[in-house]
């Protein structure tokens, strides 16, 4: 594991160093826990859903990676799987589902339609869900092979492993105007 996190300032007091080590330990532990228990919210809108079922079921077995249970409420989910075409009429719904998920949360754009609009280059289709919500992993393919999806999930696990996790994250949640 090497990255920006590992760069230690030249002069540190012992206390800072100690907390740094402790925080890193906690962060690693949390990262390990989080990457292996990704509960998912499948936002399935189109034909990629068939491949998604294949990934979930016994032959490819998404649950091997800890992405065990689809939670059909965004409040219990860590990972939003956007599976399929999102049109402009539907975009506010997806945005709301993303907003309802509790931190920490990650998003996978599953298939080209979710990633870039795919061949639906027309008046009705959102040209990639990254226009409304941040995306962590893009899985190309129309629809992607289950192997590609597993590869994408493993990439996401690596990404989570390398992220900085805190036990209590005091970052205030963004409040939208007009909403409680």
């Amino acid at each position: 594991m090497s990255g920006e996190l590992d760069i230690v300032p030249g002069i540190t007091t012992r206390r800072e160093e100690a907390t740094g080590v402790l925080q890193k330990l906690v962060s690693r532990g949390l990262g390990w826990a989080r990457k292996n228990s990704l509960w998912q919210y499948p936002f399935v809108t189109a034909c990629c859903g068939i491949e998604y079922m294949s990934v979930m079921s016994a032959r490819y077995d998404f649950a091997r990676f800890g992405a065990e249970i689809p939670r059909f409420t965004p409040r219990q989910a860590d990972m939003l799987l956007v599976v399929g075409t999102i049109n402009i009429k539907q975009a506010p719904i997806l945005k709301r589902v993303y907003d309802q998920m509790a931190d920490p949360k990650w998003v996978i754009a599953y298939g080209v339609c979710a990633s870039s609009g795919g061949f639906y280059d027309n008046y009705a289709t959102l040209q990639g869900i990254d226009r409304i919500i941040p995306v962590d992993i893009y899985i190309p393919g129309c629809p992607p092979r289950p192997e590609q999806v597993l590869d994408g999930l493993m990439l996401l696990q690596k990404k989570i492993e390398n992220q900085n996790h805190k036990l209590i994250d005091r970052q205030p949640a963004p409040v939208e105007p007009g909403r409680p």
């Binding site: 402009i88 009429k89 975009a91 506010p92 719904i93 945005k95 709301r96 280059d121 027309n122 008046y123 009705a124 959102l126 040209q127 226009r131 409304i132 007009g178 909403r179 409680p180």
Partner: protein
């Protein structure tokens, strides 16, 4: 069989039905005057020899550059007599309205809303004239030939939902 239908129509409505021909696949087709289409359809449904019980497909066509520009196409089926007929109505761009046939066949409801949504053709007499597929904020009619190919429109804010059981939806809840 369906030629008999056209013959009956020509006899019954000599001033409204014109230019009969045999379409692709052998269907009997004819053009109908715009303001008489409801009368023709009512006759086709109520006459026991016609007995058209369904309007399985109603759509519109945009012949950009032609005059009149639009056309509404009615495909009708009789399940008891096993015959079908296709009626075409020419709609000029200056007067984009065709009498609704939804009071005659309830199934034509969404097809007429589709034509309203995609081509902007009005159907006076329709019980619920709203857009079918696109959202209300959408400007223009996307299946018209002069709609720009990639005519994207801005993302809309979330809309109020009327929930039957819980009242107004989350967007309006505070």
């Amino acid at each position: 069989m369906s030629k008999a239908v056209i013959a009956a129509l020509l006899e019954r409505f000599p001033d409204a039905v014109y230019q009969p021909y045999v379409g692709v696949g052998g269907d009997a087709c004819a053009f109908v005057q715009k303001d008489r289409i409801a009368d023709v359809c009512r006759f086709l449904r109520d006459d026991p020899a016609m007995d058209f019980k369904m309007a399985p497909y109603v759509t519109a066509v945009d012949y950009l550059g032609a005059n009149p520009r639009f056309e509404v196409v009615y495909n009708l089926v009789s399940t008891s007599k096993n015959h079908r007929v296709r009626l075409r109505v020419k709609v000029p761009e200056a007067e984009l309205s065709v009498p609704s046939i939804t009071p005659i066949w309830r199934g034509a409801d969404w097809f007429e809303r589709y034509c309203l949504d995609m081509y902007g053709i009005q159907f006076p007499g329709h019980p619920d004239p709203r857009r079918l597929l696109m959202y209300d904020e959408f400007v223009g009619h996307p299946l018209r030939k002069d709609y720009p190919l990639k005519g994207r429109q801005p993302i809309i804010p979330e809309r109020e939902i009327d929930d039957l059981f819980r009242g107004p939806g989350p967007a309006g809840r505070s």
